[in-house]
């Protein structure tokens, strides 16, 4: 789930290489697991640099919504190097760096030193996810970084009678990796959105049961809109996000389809969606081609896939009855598992609901924080105007004193306003994890559907088999009554038995497929749980540390004003 490895390097050098590294370092220090302190303990800069190079920020953070990325009003309030020295003490435990009061304020604070907002915005989640990445990846040296850039309008060669060629946009997909299967370390291809759709469809066929990240939506808009800068940019961001998620998935990242998509120049050598007979139908229809080769007409093709779980259960129950004798002990097992599966499904559904509502509330929290910052800023500006006015018009000293007092408040309000905005863009990033998981839920549903349809295929084949067998029995019984045999009948019987054998094979294949998908579901659920725990925990930590840091900063700003105006403190206090 983490975009850990997929940071793109900055297209231009960091203005302060040390400072951005500092951000990473400090945040790493705060968020990382203890086991990876070794990475930080080496004081040599070169070691650190190599670690950092995997963590460099992308130019445009895919997660932050544009409205929250504050305009590049970099307002470096403190110089980075001081903080770097403060925090590169590897011997201090993680907890102590949390608890010391000035620490977070400074730590969070340096995220903004001289950086553009997107950089600052990037940092915490990146490094927090990097923390996860380090603890999660099997070999911590594997990485797969994908960038989507450089949208270019291209003309389609039109062979149709209709005059005028349609145009489309291609994007440059750059990959950097050290995974050996790719046979290269850096390469780029041009792909259009249609190619993404193809990739997505092929993956969902090939990796049934896996939680495959959903691709960006197709947009039904006018061609004029399609070419607008904003739309293209939105799409570029969405594509990058999608590809990075794919690269995060431990199984999919190694898939042929993905590799081919990333690497093969020219036309994408994957069968396009229109080649498949019915792409709308579930796996039952596609299964035959996958499983049995093209010569056999699978019985499942004639069967309409059942909609929803209820039909399935009914079928299943009926089958259970008729098959319990034949299948013996294995049948009850399937039932039980199904119950367990249903329970899990229910839990996932409930989780989804909670995540959804938390995500919505997170959005309104972010909006409220933003409004607060805005109004505080407006108040500050109003007081600045008032201060200027009083100073210009001052006739009496009391006016000048008031103007001075007011200026202090105005400056503080403007500072606080800025801090609120920064706090908010960070909050957006952290809480965005919730949104990400909502997106993932779609993938989960899809994977569960794969399982359901696979089971249905099994059911169908089982029932088909059953009816074929009873027909055969009847035929046998009938022909045994006639001495000498009935040539037609015996021929029919032979054919029937041929079909039965084929159906048996199909059934076995279907069962294997079902088991495979079940296993995929299971391992994916496990992975989901594991990753979600880690990601949510990091989200919480990030969110909380962020809040603390900024609250401290804001408190400092106002405390100064309290001191400056202490002369007015009421006698009773």
């Amino acid at each position: 789930m983490m975009d850990s490895e997929n940071h793109t390097t900055e297209e231009h050098l960091h203005p302060h290489p040390l400072s951005s590294s500092n951000d990473e370092l400090e945040n790493l220090n705060l968020h990382e697991n203890n086991e990876h302190d070794s990475l930080l303990s080496t004081k040599s800069y070169s070691n650190y640099r190599s670690v950092m190079s995997t963590l460099s920020d992308s130019h445009n953070h895919p997660l932050s919504s544009p409205s929250f990325v504050s305009s590049a009003d970099s307002d470096p309030l403190l110089s980075p190097p001081q903080h770097y020295r403060e925090f590169t003490n590897p011997n201090s435990s993680d907890t102590s760096s949390y608890i010391d009061p000035p620490s977070y304020a400074d730590a969070i604070f340096t995220s903004f030193d001289g950086e553009t907002s997107s950089n600052g915005v990037d940092t915490p989640t990146r490094s927090s996810s990097d923390g996860i990445f380090f603890s999660r990846s099997s070999s911590s040296s594997e990485f797969l970084k994908i960038t989507v850039s450089n949208p270019v309008k291209e003309q389609e060669n039109s062979n149709s009678i209709v005059p005028g060629s349609s145009s489309y946009v291609t994007y440059l997909i750059t990959t950097r990796t050290n995974i050996p299967e790719f046979g290269g370390s850096e390469f780029g291809v041009r792909r259009r959105f249609k190619d993404i759709v193809t990739l997505s469809d092929r993956l969902s066929e090939a990796y049934r049961g896996f939680f495959i990240p959903p691709r960006p939506d197709k947009s039904i808009v006018e061609s004029q809109v399609m070419q607008k800068q904003e739309f293209v940019e939105q799409r570029r961001v969405a594509l990058e996000k999608y590809l990075r998620r794919l690269a995060d998935h431990p199984v999919i990242r190694k898939s042929d389809e993905f590799r081919v998509f990333l690497q093969v120049q020219g036309k994408l050598p994957l069968p396009t969606t229109t080649d498949v007979a019915s792409r709308v139908l579930d796996g039952a229809a596609k299964l035959p081609k996958q499983l049995m080769g093209e010569s056999l007409i699978a019985p499942s093709e004639v069967v309409q896939p059942a909609k929803g779980g209820r039909d399935l259960l009914r079928l299943f129950k009926e089958l259970k009855q008729s098959m319990s004798n034949d299948w013996g002990g294995s049948k009850p097992l399937v039932v039980e598992e199904d119950k367990e599966f249903l329970a899990k499904k229910e839990r996932v559904h409930e989780l989804e609901q909670q995540i959804n509502s938390a995500s919505q509330q997170a959005e309104s929290l972010v909006k409220a924080q933003q409004d607060m910052g805005e109004t505080m800023g407006e108040l500050g500006l109003a007081f600045i105007k008032l201060t200027k006015f009083e100073n210009e018009e001052a006739v009496l000293d009391s006016q000048r004193v008031r103007a001075a007092d007011m200026k202090g408040v105005a400056t503080a309000a403007v500072k606080a306003s800025r801090l609120f905005r920064e706090l908010n863009s960070q909050t957006v990033k952290h809480l965005d994890t919730l949104h990400e998981y909502l997106g993932l839920m779609l993938a989960v549903h899809s994977a569960f559907t794969d399982r359901t349809s696979a089971l249905l295929t099994v059911q169908t084949l089982l029932s088909e088999l059953s009816s074929l067998q009873s027909r055969a029995e009847k035929l046998e019984a009938a022909s045994s009554k006639i001495f000498g045999g009935d040539k037609t009948r015996s021929r029919k019987l032979e054919e029937l038995q041929e079909t039965i054998r084929a159906t048996e094979d199909a059934k076995n294949v279907a069962i294997r497929e079902y088991e495979r998908i079940k296993e995929n579901n299971r391992s994916e659920l496990e992975r989901l749980d594991r990753e979600r725990q880690a990601d949510f925990l990091n989200m919480l930590k990030g969110f909380v540390v962020n809040q603390v840091g900024y609250a401290e900063k804001i408190a400092n700003v106002w405390t100064k004003v309290v001191e400056d105006t202490s002369g007015y403190a009421k006698e009773s206090t």
Binding site: T95, Y98, Q361, F389, E393, D405, V409, A551, W558, K570
Partner: protein, 407 residues
């Protein structure tokens, strides 16, 4: 200046305690407090009454201590009387009548109003001229029935605040027209005074804007509080779904969110009372000055008119004396009457001018003090809130750490 010390004393005693402090010295003192709002009456007739406690050693007063019950319209009466009698002095403003019916009896509104009325009376009681007022004595001492009679038999031009507002508006438009150079009526040619008028008008605009943002800021605090509360609830539910260590972490986060929500609501109220209200008060004070400016313009016009009329009468008188008319006596009498009136009008005008000059200085000093206190309280509140937020979130961190190490 004595006024400000008096102000300070009364400020600290008002609101927090129920009755004014009794000073130890034998210096003349007049100390007032407005407290204990109580809802009386039913339905549409319902109103809030306040307890007004006076402590004084002024000889004109009935005794060292007096407690009376007053309602909002009594304060309005007092203000109107003072405005009529003490032209030239910036009469302290009173809080507006509430436009929204529903809000009229909310606890926050009542407290805000009580505070504002307390400040109003205390400002009068600490003004070296106004504190001598007979109307003030009446207000502070008269029986409720007397007060009611006076209130309803008010024959002055300013019967209701709305009337007052209307007249202000008319005068205001006239004065601003003059300032803007639209009309060419009789006007003073004092350059410094012109500057002052311009200053006052512009100041009102600036202040109104600041007050508007201050009010919005209060709203933002409430909104943030609400969203934190909702967020907290949602997160708690998520925690329940998750279970185990992570679930606990979520629950804790949710709880902290809710705690902070309460803090924010509290701070919103504080902000309203100790920052937004003083700003509003400042705006009202400036509007009161504008009313005085209008009064001064009226007085000037009257003085000029009478001077003109007197001249004409003088000419007429001379004429009559020349022709030895029998109307001379009457004309002479009229002339002398007019002369007295004219002199009175001049004196009135000059008093206003003199008073205004003093008042401006007093006003500026008072406002610097008032705003200084308001700024201090504002900053204190914001620092308090921010520290509270930091502390609440910080306390979560060890728990979060524990969760991740158990992963």
């Amino acid at each position: 200046m004595v006024t400000f010390e008096g102000m300070e004393q009364q400020r600290s005693s008002s609101g927090a305690s129920l009755s004014p402090r009794s000073p130890s010295s034998s210096q003349p003192f007049l100390s007032v407090s407005v407290s204990d709002p109580v809802k009386l009456g039913n339905g549409v007739q319902a109103y809030i009454s306040y307890r007004v406690i006076t402590k004084t050693n002024f000889p004109e007063y009935q005794g060292p201590e007096k407690i009376v019950i007053r309602r909002y319209s009594d304060f309005v009466w007092l203000r109107d009387r003072l405005f009529e009698k003490y032209k030239g002095i910036f009469i302290p403003p009173i809080p507006e009548k509430s436009a929204v019916e529903k809000f009229r009896f909310s606890a926050e509104f009542i407290e805000m109003r009580r505070q504002a009325l307390d400040v109003f009376v205390n400002r009068i009681a600490s003004h070296h001229e106004l504190r001598q007022s007979e109307d003030l004595r009446t207000f502070l001492q008269a029986e409720e029935e007397t007060m009611e009679r006076l209130r309803s038999h008010e024959t002055g031009i300013f019967k209701k605040p709305s009337d007052l507002m209307q007249i202000f508006k008319d005068v205001q438009s006239k004065v601003s027209d003059v300032v803007l150079g639209k009309e060419k009526p009789v006007e003073e040619s004092d350059a410094e005074y012109e500057k002052l008028k311009r200053y006052i008008f512009e100041l009102e605009n600036h202040l109104a804007e600041a007050q508007k943002h201050a009010y919005r800021l209060v709203k933002r605090h409430r909104e943030l509080g609400q969203s934190l509360s909702d967020f907290g609830k949602a997160v708690k539910l998520l925690g329940a779904s998750e279970g185990n260590a992570l679930g606990k972490a979520f629950s804790e986060l949710g709880m902290k969110s809710e705690i902070l929500s309460v803090k924010l609501q509290k701070e919103a109220q504080e902000l309203l009372m100790s920052f937004e209200e003083p700003l509003k008060d400042y705006v009202r004070a400036v509007q009161s000055i504008k009313a005085t400016i209008a009064e001064r313009a009226n007085a000037f016009r009257r003085q000029c008119e009478l001077a003109e009329t007197m001249k004409l009468k003088e000419i007429n008188l001379d004429k009559l004396m020349l022709i030895r008319s029998d109307k001379v006596a009457e004309a002479e009498r009229e002339y002398h009457e007019l002369k007295a009136e004219s002199e009175q009008a001049t004196k009135t005008f000059e008093t206003i001018v003199k008073l205004m000059n003093e008042e401006i200085g007093r006003f500026q000093e008072q406002k610097t003090l008032d705003m200084g206190i308001a700024f201090h309280e504002f900053a204190k509140g914001q620092a308090r809130l921010a520290n509270g937020i930091a502390d609440a979130w910080r306390s979560l961190l060890p728990k979060l750490e524990a969760c991740s190490s158990s992963q």
